[in-house]
Amino acid sequence: MSAGAILEVRGVVRSFGGVRAVDGASFAVAPNSITSLIGPNGAGKSTLFNIISGFLRGEAGVVLLMGREIQHLAPHRIVGAGLVRTFQTARALSRLSVLDNVVLAAAGHPGERLSGVLLRRRAARECERDARERASELLRLVRLDRHAGDLAGTLSGGQRKLLDFARALMAEPRILLLDEPMAGVSPPLRAQLLEHILHQRDELGMTFLLVEHDLDVVMRASDRIVVMSAGAVIAEGTPGEIRGDQRVVDAYLGSRP
């Protein structure tokens, strides 16, 4: 099953002190799909996200992005390889405008290099214009276009989540890891956000890996669900399969004596 996987995690281990936060987790994400990672608090989902995106180093195991081992890569190189992540708490760059937050994510901008600033002024100007246009579109998509000129620090928690989403899309990843994208987002916007995710998958061939606690969203959106508990993957399957899995029910509610 791993042959065509865009992302594969195999036997990843990471401890903090005496606690094995991730304890030999393995799963694969198929391209052009939405995979959700669920599990009770402390299951190791966020730690695993940090390992996949290069913010933490695993102690054992491999992480393959399109067949290539990425565990030794720095976070910015992993972005270059096509994997972008968002954070559980939205990371708005407060004293940058909302628009600049999104434009910043444009990949390969010649104006971001000192050599480009000095020598490739025209290319930098053109790239900046295109990036601003695309960023404005993305802001319309998440309904933040009215706030484009405001400082990002003035946005509410839910708006920051949407800004993070738009910013991640701006980076044009092959696979996008979203850490609780729905948390703090109002119900009407949730439905829209979900629609955008489905749209990106269906029309643009994007792949998503989500950590999400809203099981309603997870069941509706996911092609596959990976269930983690105590650092390990305890079940994996389609929403239908997971719904009826006794191990999952036990992990969430506690097992019967």
Binding site: V84, F87, L96, G116, G153
Partner: protein, 321 residues
């Protein structure tokens, strides 16, 4: 004519404010735009000044090449300091920079053969042989004075220093408006977020540190030319904190706050010497010299209480998380 009304005296104050502007601009780039806590900034000034003087006196390359090498040496020192330390958490980086500042001063004090030691640049070519590094500068000044019909050296220096300062302020203001500057600001705001968007945080920090260091190197050369002589004692850690005060006084993250902060700072600093009325007249002049530091401290405390964003900063920005 008393000093208060002396044009020469205030021209001198303005020259020093111009040199501080260039010096503090480095801190503004590093801290105000990239969030780097550099508490050893004075070391880069020392490296710029010493490299210029040493190259001038000990090689045949001349003072102008020496000045260029001084600025490059300061930038290179920024890179060398940054390579092992910029991956550290920001508070550890700050500690290392303080140590770096002191190391440079101690090296300058003890490497007599290279720097002239504690005797300063007069000893550059060895003791018993008084040396000067600013012959070319004097010639440049008299040429410029002839061309502009200006007799006063202080006024000439004022023109030269402030022309350089304004050019550098413009260049930095343009630079931080580019997409490159936007990446610096994103690192200042949240370096993990910047990394998660594909930015090589380490390289940008290194560039910012080196650019700020180069500015300190420029300030070091002007300092050396203004005073015609310097020694390691000129590069006390206090100078670094003057630059920080100027940046905080003017406003963090605002390029044009730097000259305003420098002028206000310079006027307070120089103005206190005219406190010859009671109760200051009960103090002798050495004691009065400390009054200026107390006064600046009070101004800083008042500023932090009533205008934490500085003279030019925006309060709304201060209050954002």
């Amino acid at each position: 004519m008393s000093a208060v009304t002396s044009g020469e005296f205030w021209a001198f104050v303005a020259v020093v404010a111009g040199i501080y502007t260039i010096f503090a601009l480095g801190v503004q780039v590093q801290f105000g735009f990239s969030g780097l806590l550099n508490f050893g900034h004075v070391a880069f000034m020392a490296i710029g000044a010493y490299t210029m003087a040493i190259v001038t006196v000990k090689t045949g390359l001349g003072m102008w090449v020496g000045a260029l090498l001084g600025v490059l040496a300061a930038a290179a020192a920024g890179v060398l300091l940054g390579l092992p330390t910029l991956r550290l958490r920001s508070d550890y980086f700050a500690i290392v920079t303080i140590a770096f500042g002191e190391i440079v001063r101690y090296v300058a004090t003890n490497e007599d053969g290279l720097t002239g030691g504690s005797q300063g640049t007069i000893n550059l070519a060895g003791s018993g042989e008084a040396t000067q590094y600013n012959g070319s500068w004097e010639r440049f000044q008299s040429w410029l004075g002839g061309a502009l019909q200006i007799g006063s050296k202080d006024v000439l220096m004022l023109l030269v220093v402030w022309s350089a300062a304004i050019a550098l302020l413009y260049a930095c203001a343009a630079l931080v408006r580019t997409p490159w500057g936007r990446v610096l600001k994103s690192i200042r705001e949240d370096e993990d977020a910047a990394a998660s968007l594909g930015k090589n945080v380490f390289v940008y920090k290194l560039q910012s540190l080196a650019l700020g260091a180069a500015l300190a190197g420029v300030a070091g050369c002007f300092y050396a030319w203004q005073f015609s002589f310097f020694s390691p004692a000129d590069f006390q850690p206090l100078l670094t904190f003057f630059a920080w005060m100027i940046v905080i006084l003017g406003g963090v993250g605002r390029i044009w706050a730097v000259p305003i902060g420098s002028v206000v700072f310079g006027v307070i600093f120089a103005g206190t010497r005219f406190f010859d009325f009671a109760p200051f007249s009960y103090l002798d002049s050495a004691e009065r010299a400390y009054v200026r530091l107390i006064l600046i401290g009070l101004v800083m405390i008042g500023l932090v209480l009533f205008r934490p964003q500085g003279l030019l900063g925006r309060r709304e920005e201060m209050l954002l998380e």
